[in-house]
Amino acid sequence: MISLAGLRKDFQSGDQAVAALQGIDLEVNKGEFFVLLGPSGSGKTTLLRSVAGLEKPDAGEIILNGKTVYSSSRRISAPPEEREIGMVFQSYAIWPHLTVAENIGLVLTHGRARLPKNQAAERIRRSLALVQLENFDNRPARLLSGGQQQRVALARALAVNPALLLMDEPLSNLDARLREEVRTSIKKLTGQLGITVLYVTHDQVEAMVLADRIAVMSHGRILQIGNAFELYRSPANALVAEFFGSINWVRGKMLDGQRVESEIGPLVTETSRRYDGAVVVGIRPEDVKLDDAFNGVENRLDGNVVSSNFLGDQVIAEVKIKDKILVAKVSPEKERLAGNVAVQLPRNRIVVFPETATGEPVA
């Protein structure tokens, strides 16, 4: 459905060229809900805007629905109006001088399709019904609330029957409660329509709820592509691991096989790759097990609870092992933990990456 090859884009920032996209290769399947996830400045919005034709890449190729819309080698660059897309903008981009119905009508009667008035009216009615705004057609669009504008934007993008729906952080301007609600309805609606979606967000929960597959981006590169479970459980590198929730890092040295001599003690891991020399070992707080006494299990360490906070559904404890503090998230059996505890780190939950000279995990 979407096929990107070797996509590059530099931005001129003062005298310096900043690489926004450093050679992106990506395939998105038909009917797939695909999320581009990354911190601000990672290039995800530039990538989306390049697909839309709002940004012109410097090199590479973009094929949408079998049609080459951009190719640097063949000197093709189709303007946005010639690509069969619908798009929801972060600011919604609802035209404030038009009514709700006119906002949708304009793209139907003057856009790619150029429908006659009566057909457009029928299509407007159906699109508004899709987002449950049936009786809003004559409302001036600028008087709508943020959530309603968001729905009009979605209705407008779907009204043109696009082969591909692009969404640029569509939920970031909504308050938390509404965000969850709209998130669910977007998922349901796009699922029903079976439409291909390319969706940009910096919120990992949003990505995990919505996506069939996620591409994690950083500094203009794709770090890893996979579904939520793969990215969370088997991150390809430390950055991806950090981007999905918090994680404890411990320095160490790889011994033979899968054993690591770490600053908190010897650990057994299941890592399949061998690194020579210094490594970092990561484990998520919820995987740090605490008990009065684990006996006869591997990766058992002695720790001391430094602080403990009761949060209702969990207890967050800081546990000191040797000179290192690990954060543990445990079920709230007791109000607080204190004193000496036994710590266990299950081997299948430990990730290992090589360490750089600065002591930071390698991206």
């Binding site: 919005t45 805007r49 839309a52 034709g53 709002l54 940004e55 012109k56 303007p79 946005p80 109006e81 690509r83 897309i85 619908g86 798009m87 903008f89 972060q90 600011s91 981009a93 035209w95 404030p96 001088h97 304009l106 793209v107 003057h110 856009g111 790619r112 399709a113 600028r142 934007a153 407008r156 993008a157 043109v160 692009l166 970031s172 301007n173």
Partner: protein, 566 residues
């Protein structure tokens, strides 16, 4: 807050003359008398005014002139603004610099250039066309309403451009992108999205330009007056400096009062439109640059052809003509014969003593007026935004008045006050002091607006922290606010200094002697006296004096602030 009342007192000192001038104008309309005679109050002036057919002719003239001005300025400003803000046309910094210089080029300067180009008797283009095609009559006439509107419109197109650029910038670019991705091409996007959304901004600019056109003085004075085409400004001027009869301050007062009312109504319309356009303005969450329309090589060529014609016609052509005229004893179209007569005769013949006096006075004005205006306006802005005074909004409203009231009328009120109200106490008439006072008053709106905008961005807690630390108000001003406001103050100072330099409208009634003569007045005097070629030479000398100041402005004044003052 210690020292608070000092600031309020300074603001009041700056604003009282504004109110006084307005009251004087209204009062003048009912006043009849001349020095040494008893004063009579009468409705006669209004009766004469409404009975006189020339009033209506002047009204029609003025509206025709102002409308042409609006049309011409928008025709050049809208495409230029679109090219700069929404396309990938190269040379954007150059365009901004040329526009800024265009806004600073004195209108009396370009007006003279256009007379040399298109005057039916002496205009080069007319003469050449008559010669080449054997015409009986000159095809063009600059001394018409359309001609004058053309010159004024070209001059004001810079301001229109800046205002329209501002309305493009206030618009969320995603609104246009949404049209493009859903299938509307460049032109449909322009028509159905960009134009309707920027329309309130364009209408606001049109009203603003129209208001300036209504009371514009320089073009009607230089092109219109000698050809007996009067607009309200020259009509008023003629009433107080007639060639034959006695001055009639009463008639001038009556016309001025009407013009003030009209200008205030238009300002109200302008602010309504501006508010309307702000309704459409959306602040985007993202700092991305909007998609630029790619023009391609052909498009670049067309764009620069248009821009080139615009800058050539608006700025360069009048300049070249003045240079040519200044080198000739008698004006004539270029030819081998004419080239042989080229000399610096006009420059030698300039009244250099007077010019030196004028340069001295102008320099004093350029240094004193911006400084005084900034002191007053700092106090006014502080009173409006920080004092918590109950009357602070009244201060704000009064500070706006000099913007709405035509400058010529402010000057007339001052001259009237000097002649008939204060003549026993001070001898202000014909002094440099009166010029300084009126120039300063006329800049209050501009400077207050600039300082207000900057002061509003400085969080009040910054000065409150200093108060809590025990600093008195003047120290807070000196140590906290002045350093933070510095960029705005430098910009405003330079801009006001340049406006002082090119000011002719107010000078035309304020300057009555050698003692307070200014450079633009000397140029105008030569022109009115019929020495057109000498006037051209004088104009170039004046422009040469102005260059260093313009350079300073381009270096230190940030162009973005330009928009705040409108």
């Amino acid at each position: 807050m210690r020292g608070r009342w000092l600031f309020v007192a300074i603001s009041a000192a700056g604003l009282l003359p504004v109110v006084a001038f307005l009251l004087i104008i209204l009062w003048m309309g009912f006043w009849q008398g001349s020095p040494g005679e008893p004063v009579v109050y009468t409705l006669k002036h209004y009766q004469t005014l409404f009975a006189d057919p020339s009033t209506y002719r002047t009204l029609v003239n003025t509206i025709g002139f102002a409308s042409t001005t609006v049309l011409v300025s928008l025709v050049f400003a809208i495409p230029t603004a679109w090219l700069v803000e929404r396309t990938d046309v190269p040379g954007k910094n150059l365009i901004f610099a040329l526009v800024t210089i265009g806004a600073l080029l004195p209108t009396f300067f370009t007006s003279m250039g256009w007379v040399f180009l298109l005057h039916p008797r002496i205009g080069i283009i007319n003469k050449l066309l008559i010669e080449w095609f054997g015409l009986e009559q000159a095809p063009f006439n600059i001394a018409t309403l359309i001609g004058m509107g053309w010159v004024e419109g070209l001059g004001l197109s810079s301001i229109a451009f800046i205002m329209i650029v501002a309305s493009y910038r206030a618009m969320d670019p995603a609104l246009e992108e949404a049209a493009r991705v859903h299938g509307l091409g460049i032109f449909r996007t322009l028509r159905y999205v960009t134009l309707p959304l920027t329309l309130p901004g364009i209408v606001a600019a049109a009203i603003y330009i129209f208001t300036i056109g209504l009371s514009a003085f320089e073009v009607p004075a230089i092109i219109g007056m000698s050809n007996k085409i009067f607009t309200f400004s020259t009509y008023i001027f003629y009433k107080i400096q007639p060639l034959e009869e006695l001055p009639s301050y009463g008639m001038a007062g009556a016309v001025s009062s009407l013009l003030v009312v009209l200008a205030l109504l238009l300002s109200w319309g302008y602010f309504r439109m501006l508010r309307f356009s702000h309704r459409y303005a959306v602040v985007t969450g993202k700092g991305y640059r909007p998609r630029r329309v790619e023009l391609g090589a052909k498009g670049w060529f067309c764009a620069w052809f248009f821009l080139g014609c615009y800058f050539l016609v608006a700025k360069f052509l009048p300049f070249v003509l003045l240079v040519w005229a200044s080198l000739l004893k008698f004006f004539q179209p270029p030819s081998w014969a004419a080239l042989e007569q080229v000399s610096l005769y006009n420059f030698y013949g300039l009244p250099w003593n007077l010019m030196l006096q004028g340069a001295r006075n102008t320099l004093i004005l350029m240094l004193s007026v911006p400084t005084l205006a900034l002191i007053l306006c700092l106090a006014i802005s502080w009173t409006v935004l920080r004092s918590g005074l109950r009357w602070r909004l009244t201060f704000d409203a009064v500070a706006f008045l000099p913007h709405a009231v035509p400058q010529l009328i402010l000057a007339i009120a001052a001259v009237f006050a000097a002649l008939f109200l204060l003549h026993n106490a001070f001898s202000l008439y014909g002094s440099l002091a009166i010029v300084i006072i009126v120039y300063t008053i006329s800049r209050i709106s501009f400077a207050t607006r600039i300082i207000n905008n900057s002061l509003a961005q400085i969080h009040p807690e910054l000065d409150e922290a200093a108060f809590v630390g025990g600093l008195p108000l003047w120290q807070v001003m000196r140590k906290i606010l002045l350093p933070l406001l510095k960029p705005a103050l430098v910009y405003a100072w330079l801009w006001m200094a340049l406006l002082c330099y090119r000011e002719l409208t107010m000078a035309s009634v304020l300057v009555t002697s050698q003692e307070n003569v200014t450079l633009p007045m000397i140029v105008w005097g030569l022109w009115l006296g019929g020495s057109l070629n000498q006037a051209a030479a004088a104009n170039l000398v004046v422009l040469a004096f102005m260059l260093p100041a313009v350079t300073l402005y381009l270096i230190f004044g940030r162009r973005s602030r330009f928009t705040e003052a409108l």
